[in-house]
Amino acid sequence: MNVELREINKTFGVVHANVGINMKISAGTIQGILGENGAGKSTLMKVLSGYIRADSGEIFLDGKSVTIHTPADAIKQGVGMLHQDPLDFPPMRIIENFILGRAGGLLPGQSAAMKDFNRLAKQFGFSLDPEAYVDSLTVGERQQLEILRLIWLGARVLIFDEPTTGISATQKVNLFVALRLLAKQGMTILFVSHKLEDVEGLCDQVAVVRQGHLVGETKPPYKTKELVEMMFGKEISLGRRIPGCLGEIELSLRDVAVEDYRLHISDVNLDVCKGEVIGLAGMEGSGQSLFLRAVSGMVRTVGGHVIINDQDLTGHDYHIFKQHGVSFLPAARLEEGLVSGLNLTEHVILAEEAKGFFINWNQGRELTQERISEFNIHGTPANTVESLSGGNQQRALLALMRDPLNLLLLEHPSRGLDIESTIYIWSKLKERCKLGTSILFVSSDLEEILQYSDRVMVFFSGKVTSPLDASLLTTEKLGELIGGMGWPELTATGKRA
């Protein structure tokens, strides 16, 4: 289906998210939409898929002007969108999710749907068990389910919003294969991303959005430098690696074991020295997050000892860990880290040690203003956290860290952030390291792991490598390990080499 957008405008308050955007995409094309966070690319896609109504502008499908006011309108016209966070119902079965959202009919007609499901799944080479529950799926598999569902509903235009966030390298390969297949069948694919590598590797043409404007369109061969310049208006490069270890031991794990309902990890031994950064790599759900939470006291260990600053904290809860200078920053910022409805000042005051019974609001606001400038947060002390963009929320979370900090545990510190924000946040984190803070972090971005870690531990279905020197690893090697290859030559778990 040919898609054309004409003069799309959208404002949110004072922010002009889309400024007269024109775009033409012909059927069978994989169109990349590139831009940093807050550039307006998601807004544009939400306009096309009916989640947001544009202030002005027109949408043409196959040359015909269409009115799209709701997602239901969109799918009726053949436009479907896969959101960054899958919009499915985890406690329900795959087939139930598949049928949901289809218009009409009192009786769902499950057997016919099942046949269609299996046929479509086979066509795209997805192996999904329709009877399985969605909460047992990985993010990648949930995407597959959503793709099948939208195609079944008659989508001819598929929009993918940051689909490679939070999925493994192998899943990414599978996704790209499926996308190319879809395009070959005449589907129009819109691929929204801020990851240059993904866009370059996949898209037939790329449009770059910056500050609400469409600033340029290019075709292969792509020049990375040119794309970066279009995205940011200037050239950017990652910082140089600086080795972290400052000598003394901060965190010791002795024969630590953790488990949840499907994983058991045992006999993890690790010594982390002050200022050192340990990256925890692995496919989503391989146990690295569980492990990180166990080290923070959020999850009980089932064996072994967690020793922080020579104090055995095994079995204590997070608040005791916190008193010993441990801080845990979750990936789901608005769900677990920040409180929607409270403003930045209230967050800063909550995070600080209470002084007396009454709050000194003036002092709190001043302190917040200091943090805002120190962490470069785009907002005011009176801004509620949910009104901030993802990158600013992450910076706000960092701005809430207490001083001094012995051990910082981060889940996906750069998830959903653009390169510039990522670099900024890591520069802040490395400042902490110089002051003696040790960091453990989980990430599905291999380059982030290699760039910022001193040592790396790889998780694969309940197994853990001994800490590997990051400077001796390559993306390829790491990718193999994450996928479960090349393990025998390593000792699974074990003491420091």
């Binding site: 880290g337 920040l338 409180v339």
Partner: protein
């Protein structure tokens, strides 16, 4: 900004009009003259000193229950059990007064002890709902509802059992307390300046507690997002328990006021529904403590004004209840409509 405030008032006004229209329709269906009904409600509140005093008398316990539920609402909890907490406060106060009425203690001291016992009673009952919620994973709405029935049953048991009147047990309640154990009231009325002073003091304390203290801020954080609050270092389940206990203490005070300044004994419906009415007031003011006093006064006036209806127009006095409930519904409805209208999608 200024324009916004007027706009909000405009919306509130529309809600009130809708509520009046709706109530008028109900009256017409019931075959009653609406205009006269409204006049009699208004007359019932201001036509005599006695009426005004009665309104003041109803204001005090309502302020206390409103103050209580503002605390639990801040923590994101629906303390439906507040009725039972009022009742339990009344039971504890009655028990204390009964125990001490023949002692040599001064009546002032007995009353103070009675009020303290009321607080403890309400707090204990609330902590039961809180414990069910935090340790038993029982939703506070269900737990509170169950405990309300239990509290009422306990009252009936006491009135017909251990605390029955000599000779004949009766639904009219336990034996009246001697005059010296009545909270001093304006002569011949149910209005006790002491009770009202207590109510206003408590609502003021709650206002400052929620607005200006670490306690209040943490409570709000727990109410808005318990997982984030925990990560920010708030001891979450303890704060939930605190909010139940504080709310229960306020409710217990309301029960104590009912016993010492209104009924001077324990009766089966000792709470007069002020617990639920407090929930309504809190919802109507959108959980902003600053509006609690005037709106609670308005609701107290509606309650008292409705008393005249059966005599004058042969209407049930629950008309006020209809208006009170409908008002909350329409204010919330209009607020929802406003948000929908002005939401930036």
């Amino acid at each position: 900004m200024k324009k916004n405030i007027w706009l909000n008032f405009g919306f509130q006004f529309v809600a009130i009009i809708f509520a009046l229209i709706f109530t008028t329709v109900i009256l017409l269906i019931a075959g009653a003259p609406p205009f006269q009904a409204y006049i009699s409600v208004i007359k019932g509140t201001i036509s005599s000193m006695n009426d005004i005093a009665n309104v003041m008398g109803a204001w005090a316990p309502l302020l206390l229950t409103t103050a209580g539920v503002l605390i639990t609402f801040a923590a994101g909890l629906w303390n439906i059990g507040i009725e039972g907490q009022v009742v339990m406060g009344a039971i504890f106060t009655t028990g204390t007064l009964r125990l001490l009425q023949n002692s040599t203690l001064s009546s002032g001291l007995i009353l103070v002890l009675g009020f303290l016992a009321g607080m403890v009673g309400g707090a204990l009952w609330a902590s039961l709902a809180g414990a069910l919620k935090t340790f038993g994973n029982v939703n506070e709405i269900f737990g509170g509802l169950g405990l309300n029935f239990v509290a009422t049953a306990v009252t009936i048991y006491l009135i017909f059992g251990p605390w029955k009147r000599p000779g004949i047990a009766s639904l009219s309640g336990t034996l009246l307390f001697p005059n010296n154990l009545w909270l001093p009231t304006v002569s011949g009325t149910e209005f006790s300046p002491w009770a009202l002073g207590l109510g206003l003091l408590v609502i003021l304390i709650v206002y400052f507690l929620l607005r200006g203290t670490y306690f209040g801020l943490r409570l709000k954080a727990v109410g808005k997002n318990i997982r984030s609050a925990f990560l920010l270092g708030v001891p979450t389940w303890q704060y939930m328990m605190f909010s139940f206990i504080l709310c229960g203490a306020c409710a217990g005070l309301a029960g104590a006021v009912q016993v010492t300044s209104v009924y001077h004994r324990l009766i089966p419906s000792i709470s007069s529904g002020y617990g639920f009415l407090g929930l309504l007031v809190a919802m109507l003011i959108n959980y902003q403590a600053i509006w609690a006093a005037p709106i609670a006064l308005f609701y107290a006036a509606l309650n008292i004004g409705g008393i005249q209806l059966p005599i004058l127009l042969k209407l049930d006095s629950s008309l006020s209840g209809v208006l009170q409930g409908v008002l909350v519904l329409f204010v919330m409805l209009v607020e929802g409509a406003r948000q929908r209208l002005f939401r930036k999608r």
